[in-house]
Assembly symmetry: C2
Homo-oligomer: 216 residues x 2
DNA sequence: GAAAAAAATGACCAGGTAGTCATATGACTA
DNA sequence: TAGTCATATGACTACCTGGTCATTTTTTTC
C-alpha cells in the first residue's frame, strides 16, 4: 500500500510537492491511467524524469498516491457538510449535499475528472478497491442521512433502505455528471445555467423524490 | 460521416465482415479508443494490417463504423420493447424496459462496454455527437412513456416533465451499471443474483418512484 | 489462357511510451 | 579543504503504436 511513494518525495519542499501533485492530477484526469504520459508530467512540473523515479517507484505508484490524496479531500469535504447540516430536514440535507458536490467539482474539477476516468477502465491499478472505497463512502453517507431522517419521522416508516439509498446515489451521481458533462445534460439545462437556476432544479428533484411520480 | 468505411469492406463475405466487427468491438470495448491496438485487432480477426487499411480509412473510421453499428442495434431493441408494452401501465413499462436493458447487456456485453468506455473520455472522436445521440434517444424514449402515462392518468398531473425524465434516466442508467460493474453494486446485491431476485429489486425501485420517499 | 484489375500482405517508418543508469550537483561533515 | 552522501539529470533502451507501400496473390475480364 505505502510502497507507492518513496521517502525522498516527502523531503521535498512543499511547494515542489504541490507542483508535482498538481501536474500529475492534471495529466491523469485528462488522459486516464494508461494514456497519461510521464514525459508530459515531468515537463509540466519542471522536474527531470530521473527525479520522478526517486520520488515514486513507478507509474502505478504515482497514480495511487494521487488518487488516495484525492479521496482524502472528498471525505473531508463531505463529512463537513454532514456535520454542518446536522439539524436540518432530510430533504434539505440532501439538497445541501448535492450543491456541496457541485461546489467541490467547480473548485476541484480535476479530482472529479480523475474519478470519472477510473469508473469504467478495468486496466487501472487497484481500480476495484479504489472505486469501492468511493462508492461505499457515498452509500454510508446516504445511509446515515436516511436513518436520521427515519428517526425524525421525515421519511416513510416502511422505506426499503437499500433501494432508497440506491435511488439517491443514482440521482446525486448523475446530477453531478450532468453538471460537468454536457452530453448528459439533455433534459435539464444545467450546464451553463446560473447558480440560482441550478438550485431550483435541485429543489424540483428533491420534491420529486419526496412525493414520487404516481398519482396521489 | 460515411467516409469512415471504404467500399472494399462491403464487398467482403459477410462472415469475414462479422469477424472483423467482432474483433473490433471486443478490442474497443476492452481498451477504449486510444488504447485499443490495431495490431491486436488484426491478429484476432485473422486479417493483415494492410487489409484493414483497405477496408477503413484509419483507426477513427473503424471506431465510428463500429459505434454506429452498435447504436443501430440498441435503437431497434428498445423500440421493440416500447411497442410490445404499448397497452401496459407506466410503471410496468418502465420495469419491462429496464429488464430488457439488462437482457440486452447480457447478450451484447461488449456493446455496453463500448458505451461505458466513451462516457468520460474527451479524446474519443465525435464523442459529443455519439453520446448525445444515445442520451437524446433515451430521453425521447422516456418522454414518450411519461406523456402516455400522463394521458392515461397514471401519473400526477403537475409532474415537472424534465425533472421526472432526468430522475428516470439517472435511475435506469445506474441500474444497468450496477448490474455489470460490481463496484457500483454496493447497496443492492444485483451482480450475482438470480433473475427472480433482480426482478424483485426492480419492482421495489418502481414502487419507490411511484410513491416517493416522504411521509404520506 | 493472357492481361488487367482488385485485394492481401507484412516489413518498415516515424514517433511515442515507461523505466534505467552513469554522471553531475551541491549541501553537510570533519 | 577534502570527503561523503542524498539528490538531480537527461540521454538511452526496449518496446509498442498507427499508418504506408512495394510486392505478391487472387479474381475478373476479354
Amino acid at each position: 500500500m505505502s510502497d507507492t511513494v518513496l521517502p525522498t518525495f516527502h523531503n521535498l519542499p512543499l511547494a515542489k510537492q504541490k507542483r508535482i501533485i498538481d501536474a500529475a492530477l492534471a495529466e491523469f484526469a485528462d488522459k486516464g491511467y494508461q494514456q497519461a504520459s510521464l514525459n508530459t508530467l515531468v515537463a509540466h512540473s519542471s522536474i527531470s524524469k530521473g527525479s520522478l523515479y526517486q520520488y515514486f517507484r513507478d507509474k502505478r505508484g504515482i497514480f495511487l498516491y494521487i488518487f488516495q490524496f484525492a479521496i482524502g479531500l472528498v471525505r473531508k469535504t463531505l463529512l463537513r457538510v454532514k456535520d454542518d447540516t446536522r439539524e436540518e430536514n432530510f430533504f434539505i440535507r440532501l439538497e445541501r449535499s448535492l450543491l456541496a458536490g457541485v461546489d467541490f467539482i467547480r473548485r476541484h474539477p480535476r479530482i472529479y475528472g480523475l474519478y470519472l476516468k477510473i469508473l469504467f477502465d478495468e486496466h487501472v491499478p487497484q481500480r476495484v478497491e479504489l472505486l469501492q472505497a468511493v462508492r461505499q463512502f457515498a452509500a454510508d453517507y446516504l445511509r446515515s442521512l436516511v436513518r436520521q431522517g427515519l428517526a425524525r419521522g421525515e421519511l416513510r416508516e416502511d422505506l426499503p433502505e437499500p433501494a432508497a439509498i440506491f435511488l439517491l446515489d443514482a440521482l446525486l451521481d448523475r446530477f453531478l455528471q450532468a453538471v460537468c458533462v454536457p452530453a448528459f445534460d439533455v433534459t435539464l439545462a444545467l450546464h451553463q445555467s446560473p447558480p440560482g437556476n441550478l438550485q431550483q432544479c435541485v429543489q424540483e428533484l428533491m420534491a420529486l423524490l419526496r412525493t414520487g411520480l404516481g398519482k396521489a
